[in-house]
């Protein structure tokens, strides 16, 4: 599997910078002037009560929803004006809260679909240059199988994605984005709806990948997960970013406590 060489001196450089990102639906401001930096090599945690605007922010970053205003810069590249497929090829990959596999395709094909600019994606190359396509496909297949192995999906690699369990689908989502070797991976509630032992596995994978140099931004409701692996932690409430800092600070921050506890009766 591809690895990023993380330079020690580059680790604190922001790889993702948001400035003044806003998105309204009619009169409702879902994301309100959100700005933050995500350092290279970090596992950022994005938390907040339901309806805080976290998933809308993800959709905006991934280009599926166009922001009303604000800038998003990935590395050196402004990506806020790009369509989703170009944001992905620029190096920002996302998974979905509810997994969205290609149901009627095998696990292996789901993963092999991902790499950008495959020669065989130009239809004529499959007729005119079959050898070149075959060579690429062989390499693609090997890489896909090693990622599938890393994600514990080897047993089901030839099965239709439609037949996978909820937890396996989460792993498949991860496998697909890893295939592109992205700069930043956005995970939308990776631990939601999976059993506790798989959750531990998944957290281990994220930590392992992070050690290899992948940067993550994670939406997660499971506070145990967030507090143990995420730094920095960003807290959103009612569309606004109300906190950015470490886990300890989040626990003591009055605005954060109010956002969460204020909900309680």
């Amino acid at each position: 599997m591809a690895k990023h060489a993380v330079m020690a001196n580059k680790e604190s450089q922001p790889v993702l910078r948001l400035s003044g990102v806003s998105k309204s639906f009619g009169g409702f401001t879902a994301v309100d002037n959100v700005s933050f930096d995500l350092p290279n090599g970090a596992i950022g945690g994005l938390i907040g009560p339901n309806g805080a605007g976290k998933t809308t922010l993800f959709n905006t970053l991934a280009g599926m929803i166009e922001a009303d205003s604000g800038q998003v810069v990935l590395g050196e590249t402004p990506i806020h004006d790009l369509p989703p497929h170009q944001i992905f090829t620029a190096g920002l990959a996302r998974t979905f809260q509810i997994p969205r596999p290609f149901q009627e395709m095998t696990v292996l094909e789901n993963v092999m679909t991902v790499p950008a600019s495959q020669a065989g994606e130009q239809f004529w190359n499959n007729i005119l240059r079959p050898r070149k396509v075959a060579r690429e496909e062989q390499a693609n297949r090997e890489q896909a199988l090693s990622i599938i192995d890393f994600c514990d999906l080897t047993r089901v690699r030839g099965d239709a994605a439609a037949s996978l369990s909820g937890g396996q689908l989460k792993l498949l989502e991860l496998a697909r984005v890893l295939m592109a070797d992205p700069k930043v991976i956005l995970l939308d509630e990776p631990a939601a709806g999976i059993n506790p032992s798989l959750m531990v596995t998944l957290v281990d994978k994220i930590v392992e990948l992070n050690k290899r140099g992948y940067t993550f931004l994670i939406i997660e409701h499971n506070m145990e997960v967030v507090m143990s692996i995420c730094d920095p932690i960003m807290v959103m409430a009612q569309g606004k970013l109300i906190y950015r800092g470490d886990a300890e600070g989040a626990r003591r921050d009055p605005a954060v406590l109010d956002a969460y506890l204020g909900d309680l009766p």
């Binding site: 989703p84 497929h85 693609n140």
Partner: protein, 315 residues
């Protein structure tokens, strides 16, 4: 005996010609999920372009360039592809039934243009005396038809091979990804607009080729050959044979065409003469019935989709 063989040859020519159009629809619907309800229109474009390019010169009508058969086939494909590109650029933002309604309307428009644009299409009379290359090379109807069958088998096999190559590939994987979940495919770096357009254009080129082979065989083209029932037949062939399987597309074409022609024969023999005029409607009902029963009983068709498409991703 000769009669049976003659008929079988004649039957196979038409079934295989239609199967090329079914292959085109299979690419669009089976693999990409594009609901093209205007198949007849693109077949018509290919058919008329073939007639114009290869037919004899005539008074007061455009064309009649007398070009070789092969040039006609290529020209028909290019023209149908170009028409598809124009239609595609306008309609590919439409999905599902919206695309179906739009393409249906376009096909009806094409048919009406064929009916009325006399200078180019010959109007209601159509264009006649289109040369059949087999006529020049063989003597007697059976030998000629057998030769034409060979041509159709050759062209059809080439088309089939090309479709298999491009579908069992990274390109084919992208088509399926778009079909399964367009947004997820886009979030994984695939450009849905480009992929849908390519699939639509290539599929329509096959339909154009089918129209051209048809005209080259029967020797004339008339607007009444491209009514919406043709689209309906092609769709039934695909559903019966098995969507997203090229072998299924060919099998479906042969089976449904057999049912269609047999039912026509049976109706002409068994149905009282007073209601013979409704024979065509009875056939249409029969095809509709097959379609519905198939969708209810065996929605994946006779040979369904293979779960693993690309040839380098099998186990």
């Amino acid at each position: 005996m000769t009669g049976v063989i003659s008929y079988l040859v004649f039957f196979l020519i038409l079934a295989l010609i239609l199967s090329i159009a079914v292959l085109g629809l299979n690419l669009q619907w089976g693999f990409t999920g594009l609901f093209n309800a205007g198949v007849a229109g693109f077949i018509a474009v290919g058919a008329y372009v073939m007639a114009i390019l290869t037919g004899p010169a005539r008074d007061a009508v455009f064309g009649g360039f007398g070009l070789p058969f092969a040039v006609g086939l290529i020209g028909a494909m290019v023209a149908a592809g170009f028409a598809a590109l124009l239609v595609g650029l306008v309609t590919l933002r439409l999905k599902g039934e919206y695309l179906a309604v739009a393409t249906f309307g376009i096909a009806v428009t094409i048919q009406l243009v064929c009916l009325n644009w006399e200078y180019v299409t010959g109007g209601t009379l159509g264009l006649i005396s289109i040369p059949n290359p087999a006529r020049a090379l063989a003597d007697g109807p059976l030998a000629q038809n057998t030769l034409y069958l060979l041509i159709v088998v050759l062209v059809g096999s080439l088309a089939f091979w090309c479709f298999e190559r491009i579908v069992q590939s990274p390109w084919g994987r992208m088509l399926k990804a778009i079909r399964e979940d367009e947004e997820a495919a886009a979030s994984l770096g695939k450009n849905p607009t480009r992929i849908r357009l390519e699939s639509f254009v290539i599929g329509c080129m096959a339909m154009g080729l089918s129209g051209a082979l048809y005209v080259g065989f029967i020797g004339y083209v008339s607007p009444s050959d491209f009514l919406p029932i043709v689209t309906f037949q092609i769709w039934t062939m695909l559903i019966v044979g098995g969507s997203a399987n090229n072998r299924g597309a060919v099998l479906g074409a042969i089976i449904v065409w057999a049912v269609w022609t047999t039912s026509g024969f049976v109706i002409s023999k068994l149905v009282p003469t007073e209601i013979q005029a409704q024979g065509g409607a009875m056939q249409a009902i029969l095809i509709g019935l097959i379609l519905v029963l198939m969708l209810l009983g065996r929605p994946r068709g006779l040979i369904g989709e293979r779960i693993s498409v690309s040839r380098h991703a099998r186990f």
